[in-house]
Symmetry: C2
Subunit: 134 residues, 2 copies
DNA sequence: CCGGATTTGTACGTATGTATT
DNA sequence: GAATACATACGTACAAATCCG
């Protein structure tokens, strides 16, 4: 229940609610969230507050939003094992705007940048790879 | 220059401008961005549009915002080498709300979750570690 | 294919609260 | 205490994408 007297922003309270429903499976992967208008009405909020809540979940990689379509719980894609070669290293970071477009990455999805022993680098979508060391 | 006739949202155009100034060093690490009010006036936008632009940059990990203080270009912290042990693997993802608070992570900073050979896992701040394989 | 309904995106204005300097 | 700066929240309006009959 969203309570204005609590010392937590209303949109954060709504995000907490939705996050809980997702983690408990009440909103399963692929399932649509109620529309922004519906969420606003059922929780007594204005639409901007609802949008802020959903923006939080998007940044966490929990949901995906498509214009004119709606917001859905993100489905986990399979991660390909990627062996980290001897003498190489890897860092995780958020993609640049260009990288997000190039790799068709959703909001809230980091990239993995591998630097090989020869100094060259490669960038991989963070939700599709798992670095391994056999 | 921000141009309403262009087919790109005004707040995205402003984000592009600021992103460029950051990448070119005109806004160096640690440097403060103009205040939201100033940016709004100088570019002829309303403050909500300016806030959207800055929110984009925050999500990309380019800037940090502190209430009552302002927004500054993020300074890169040193990354500690972390050897990926034999038989382990690692994934990159965005932190949960709790993890962000626990590790005191800025917006736009992913985490690295290592799964060890015995099945146990550990989570590291994505901006402070570099996975290595000697 | 078209049109209408639904849904999210963009943008403005306003007001008030709270943290930092 | 005052000034500055960001955070939260409401309301409104129109644009644009998608879906469905």
């Amino acid at each position: 229940m969203i309570d204005p007297r609590r010392d937590r922003a209303l949109y954060r309270q709504l995000a907490d609610l939705l996050r809980q429903q997702i983690s408990e499976g009440e909103l399963a992967p692929g399932a649509p969230l109620p529309s922004e208008t519906t969420l606003a009405q059922t929780h007594g909020l204005a639409r901007p507050a609802v949008r802020q809540a959903i923006a939080l979940l998007r940044a966490e990689g929990l949901v995906t939003t498509s214009r004119g379509y709606g917001t859905r719980v993100r489905e986990q894609v399979e991660r390909k094992p990627l062996e980290l070669p001897t003498g190489s290293s890897a860092v995780a970071r958020m993609p640049s705007d260009a990288e997000r477009i190039e790799h068709d990455l959703d909001d809230g999805v980091p990239v993995v940048e591998v630097q090989f022993a020869d100094g060259s680098t490669a960038v991989y979508p963070g939700d599709r790879v798992r670095l391994t060391r056999p």
